[in-house]
Amino acid sequence: MADQPVAPHTVISTGGEPYLVGSHCSACGETHLGAFENCPACTARGQMDEVRLSNQGTLYNYTIVYRSLPGVTVPFISAVVDLDGGGTIRGNLLEVEPDPSKIAFDMPVKVVFRSAADAVAGGEGYLAHFFVPAN
């Protein structure tokens, strides 16, 4: 059986391809990560459309985590990425040295889906999103 998505905002297409879903508000134009019935930005009711979010974005913010819970591999980069076309998402940034001098704000990144076991103990059988440098 294929790995199951960890988060509800990850969907696997009928072809087996994982992608991120969001909600687009037709009243205010804001795009939110995940499913919403009503808009937290403008309060519009029932005007949210489910949209497929981009797998390309830029690094808005990050921290390098050195101390975490048992079972979590440290250090890791906790990143906040603005997706092209709307939506912001948090995840681990991989394939970059965990050193502030090696991490640039606004660097282009790509969303990839990998086994959760790559980051945490007990992650076998689950699929998570990660970021890698786009270049």
Partner: protein
């Protein structure tokens, strides 16, 4: 007669770790101390708001230790703004004319180590370290990094916040830690989440604080007005929508909203404030809050700290109690403990750390989720 509300009695226990105590017993201690501060007894209290994040029915259980008078008790929880929210509800009740004398108390028994948010995202397995990090040090590390991104604020500047507040704490016998930490020591201590080292994180401690609030009429009748502290403004805000708030908690905007409401209510501006106790749960937050509270211009937070304005003896001392970084941060108690600190200065009773001539003080707490409370207090 105005419908202004005054603090007539207020106190806090020395924060620390009390292995065998319960929150309600700590609350009882603080309540008796606050009552002693104004010479009243529990029978004088007409209603109670009791704040705690971890305890349940704490207010009623507290009364089991000091006297069950049958008054209305409301238990309050509002993250790190819990104590300040309890205080504000007592203020509202007096303002509304329902009561003359109310008690607000906050207490917390904390666990050890990092606070981990509950799994509220509906995920299949825990996501800490898997989908980035949501523990408190990471949230506030990112708050600092956003400031770095926008304004170039450095690791060293953030570390100077801890150097300053820890220096202040040496003058506060009620702080958990009263230890000076030179800048190099702060920067070289264990890195938790860049740019936060261990000495830039507040400590989980147990504690309690309580305040007796009174109507102006009653305070005058009771002869308690002379040492009283006037509540010039009480503002509470929840997090308005901002673009990344749902994945990167934004405590800046909610603070700005509460601060703006408080300044408007008091008809005061940031320039009128003589001292501030703000929510330095992590060192990064303090520099951001200088700007959020309007103490300095946008982007000038780091420079404002460097100027010395916010240290004791400076133009606008911030966290002369030692702040949460030194005093400790027992969630439910913190908001009232901050009000205690400001009250001591306004009364001229702050001892070695007294801010001379203090007339107006500001308290600020902000809890993730989010809730922000700002109070403006004035010497009566």
């Amino acid at each position: 007669m105005s419908n202004d509300v005054y603090i007539v009695g207020i106190d806090m226990i020395k924060f620390g770790r009390f292995e065998n105590e319960k929150a309600e017993r700590l609350a009882a201690q603080a309540t008796l101390m606050a009552l002693d501060d104004c010479g009243l007894g529990i029978r004088d209290i007409q209603a109670i708001w009791a704040g705690s994040c971890n305890a349940t029915m704490m207010g009623q259980r507290m009364l089991h230790y000091i006297g069950q008078t049958g008054v209305p008790v409301v238990n309050v929880t509002n993250a790190c703004a819990t104590g300040a929210t309890a205080f504000r509800e007592a203020w509202i009740a007096i303002k509304a004319g329902l009561y003359d004398t109310c008690l607000a108390v906050g207490a917390e028994k904390m666990g050890k180590g990092m606070l981990v948010p509950k799994n509220s995202q509906g995920t299949a397995i825990p996501t800490e370290g898997l989908l980035g990090s949501g523990v408190m040090p990471s949230v506030f590390a990112k708050m600092g990094m956003e400031h770095t991104r926008k304004h170039g604020t450095t690791f060293e500047q953030f570390a100077r916040v801890s150097e300053k507040n820890h220096r202040h704490s040496t003058l506060n016998p009620k702080a958990m830690y009263q230890r000076e930490t030179p800048l190099a020591m702060v920067m070289e201590s264990e890195m938790i989440a860049y740019p936060l080292t261990k000495l830039m994180c507040s400590v989980n401690v147990d504690g309690a604080a309580a305040a007796v609030l009174m109507s102006e009429k009653k305070a005058k009748q009771s002869g308690l007005i002379n040492r009283a502290v006037k509540v010039r403004a009480s503002a509470l805000a929840s997090d308005p929508f901002t673009a990344r708030n749902l994945v990167m908690q934004d405590v800046n905007t909610v603070t700005r909203l509460a601060a703006q409401n408080a300044y408007e209510m008091a008809e005061l501006g940031p320039e009128d404030v003589n001292l501030i106790e703000l929510h330095d749960c992590f060192a990064t937050a303090e520099i951001c809050h200088y700007e959020n509270l309007g103490l300095c211009a946008e982007g000038e937070g780091g420079a404002y700290l460097d100027s010395g304005a916010t240290q004791l003896g400076g133009q606008q001392p911030v966290n002369v109690s030692g702040g949460l970084l030194s005093k400790g941060h027992p969630l439910g108690a913190t908001g009232i403990a901050n009000i205690y600190e400001i009250s001591q200065h306004l009364r001229g009773e702050a001892g070695a750390r007294q801010v001379e001539g203090a007339k107006i003080g500001l308290t600020h707490v902000v809890g993730l989720g989010s809730a922000c409370a700002v109070h403006l207090l004035e010497k009566a």
